[in-house]
């Protein structure tokens, strides 16, 4: 009798544990589940991508005030448009030393930010163009829409285009800081010779 009971108790225990495990494991994927001390998860400080009632437009990420230059940035006072483009071409030169390290950095940045359209070799055959995105001209063989061959693009012209974008290309100013842009310019010059 006792042995029988023991067996029953053991069996019931196994069943209850598995059932309760099963019940608690199927939780709602749309919810974070139970939280203890949630005030540690909901910060008092604002994250840059959070909304913020203290500003008029409700965003935490505010633009720097007009006319200010962030630390480490070099001003580029050439307006978007044909005039600024030509002026930058004549006046702006890449002051960064052409070293293996800078070229390697430039290549890595180019692969990440430019190669999806321009292709790893700069031939305008990146992955997204194979899925229907309008292909850009080749750096070594194509013609620029603003006149001249792509292989003759100067420091200033490439930097101006990265900063403001042109045609189907958007501005990369938010993704690349000035130093990174110069590294990319350096690498594009290498692609022009291919």
């Amino acid at each position: 009798m006792l042995a029988m009971n023991k067996f029953k108790i053991l069996g019931a225990a196994v069943i209850t544990v598995t059932v309760s495990l099963f019940v608690t494991s199927c939780k709602d994927k749309r919810s974070t589940g139970w939280e203890y001390a949630p005030n540690m998860y909901e910060h008092i400080a604002y994250d840059p991508d959070q909304k913020n009632p203290n500003f008029k437009d409700g965003k935490t990420a505010q633009l720097p005030p007009k006319g200010t230059t962030p630390v480490g940035f070099v001003r580029f006072d050439y307006p978007n448009g044909n005039e600024g483009y030509e002026k930058a071409s004549a006046e702006v030169k890449n002051m960064m030393a052409i070293t293996d390290k800078n070229l390697a950095d430039g290549k890595a940045l180019f692969i990440t930010f430019c190669a999806p359209c321009h292709g790893a070799e700069g031939q305008g055959d990146g992955e997204v163009t194979k899925h229907g995105f309008p292909p850009p001209p080749s750096y070594s063989k194509g013609n620029s829409s603003r006149g001249g061959a792509m292989k003759d693009l100067t420091d200033g012209k490439i930097y101006h285009t990265i900063t403001y974008g042109v045609n189907a290309m958007g501005s990369y100013a938010s993704q690349l800081n000035p130093d990174e842009r110069w590294k990319v310019v350096m690498y594009v010059h290498h692609l022009q010779t291919l």
């Binding site: 990440t112 229907g132 995105f133 045609n167 990369y172």
Partner: protein, 426 residues
């Protein structure tokens, strides 16, 4: 009477014949050229132009269909810059109407090539318009999955049927009782009462059985205990959390199919504490030119949400910042304030791949939290990861300091980075 009809018949026949020949002749000329023009068009023009939509350049279909001055068009296509420089009134107007955007000079295209392109644009645009006229009917027919209304209707029908069955059962029960009452068989009810009393007595007896009660209490304790254990174990652990985002951004398409690297959008991951949620201008790097999936006939409603959030009008390609409204993404990976985590330290210095912690995001249509982000999880990895100290100035310095200590020289806190700003001001 018959005379008139005969004349009409002959007249209409000749008109039809002439019209037929004209169409045949025209289309034969146009089509012969269009096939060649298609290749040239796709190689040179599609970077900036679409036939039915404004892109970088104007929509070519309506423009070239309306403009029949092929000589001028040829000149424009072959060297638009020369035309503008020469002060051609029409060229300058086109240039200014398109925000002084530049068009590539196609000096290599011959007059014949340009004629082929023009023919292609005109015939293709005509075909597109005819297709568009025929399309709405088929599109409406194709979209016929089971709607919510149908599903709710079915559920309602099932519920109503269930209620009807219950009611009928009750009615049958009362009718049977009535029938039995009429026959004078009310005695049975007493028997039923007896049965209930017997059951009650049995239950009371069972309650007094200590072994049985104990057994149930043990079961309840085990059940409740394991539930509590699992609940406490999973409290503050958000693994698998997959909230509905305001825009259904498919990572599998962007990172998987298109092979766009993670930091193209999350540009901060390699240089800052935060990986950063991309601002919408990053979306617009591509979605200025892409408003639908490649095979879709209508613009994507999800991409349209980007345009609405920016106050962007795809028809005029202009922004209206007064209508802009930021997208409120829902945070998935959320560390509590008690823990400090820096993305660049892990990706740049540690050389970790994003997928190590975030899982196979390039296969996720909807992103979920892959790792538990618990302290145990962090520590487990920190215990197992071997440090690559070669070519790292921090460890070079450390080794130098250690050599000094071995030689018995004086070592200050400053030598170990003790006067770095971040040691006190964090």
């Amino acid at each position: 009477m018959s005379n008139i009809s005969l004349i009409l018949k002959q007249f209409s026949r000749s008109v039809l014949l002439i019209a037929g020949f004209a169409i045949l002749g025209f289309s034969a000329r146009a089509q012969g050229d269009a096939a060649k023009g298609e290749g040239i068009f796709k190689a040179n023009c599609t970077a900036c132009h679409k036939l039915d939509q404004k892109m970088t350049g104007p929509a070519l279909g309506p423009v070239i269909t309306a403009d029949t001055d092929d000589k001028w068009l040829t000149k424009w296509i072959q060297n638009n810059k020369a035309l503008i420089a020469a002060g051609d009134a029409k060229a300058v107007k086109v240039y200014n109407d398109n925000q002084q955007g530049n068009m590539t000079v196609f000096a290599t295209l011959s007059d014949g090539d340009v004629a082929n392109v023009l023919a292609y644009v005109r015939t293709e645009y005509k075909a597109m318009q005819e297709k568009a006229k025929a399309a709405p009917a088929t599109a409406a027919a194709a979209d016929s999955g089971p709607s919510n209304l149908v599903i709710f209707g079915l559920i309602a029908v099932i519920v109503i049927a269930f209620i009807v069955i219950l009611l009928l059962n009750k009615v049958i029960g009362t009718l049977e009782r009535l029938l039995l009452n009429k026959k004078g068989l009310a005695v049975e009810e007493v028997e039923v009462d007896d049965k209930a009393a017997a059951r009650k007595a049995e239950f009371k007896k069972l309650l007094k059985n200590k072994k049985l009660v104990g057994f149930f209490i043990v079961c309840a304790v085990i059940c409740g205990g394991s539930w509590q254990w699992v609940t406490l174990w999973n409290t503050n652990v958000h693994t698998g959390y997959q909230p509905v985002q305001p825009i259904k951004f498919p990572h599998d398409l962007h990172a998987g199919v298109m092979k766009i690297e993670c930091q193209y959008c999350h540009a901060g991951a390699f240089k800052s504490k935060n990986a950063t949620i991309p601002s919408l201008n990053v979306c617009m790097n591509c979605h200025k030119s892409v408003d639908r999936r490649m095979d879709a006939s209508a613009p994507s409603t999800e991409i349209a949400k980007i345009y609405t959030a920016l106050g962007y009008d795809p028809a005029t390609t202009k922004y209206d910042s007064t209508k802009a409204k930021p997208v409120q993404w829902i945070r998935i990976h959320n560390l509590p304030d008690l823990a400090y985590f820096n993305h660049s330290q892990h990706t740049k210095v540690g050389g970790l791949k994003c997928q190590t912690c975030h899982g196979p995001v390039e296969t996720m249509q909807e992103v979920y939290q892959y790792s538990p982000l618990t302290m145990k999880w962090c520590i487990q990895c920190h215990k197992r990861t071997e440090v690559n100290y070669k070519g790292n100035a921090y460890y070079d310095n450390m080794i130098q300091v250690h050599d000094k200590i071995k030689r018995g020289e004086k070592v200050t806190a400053a030598a170990l980075g003790g006067i770095e700003c971040g040691k006190c001001h964090y």
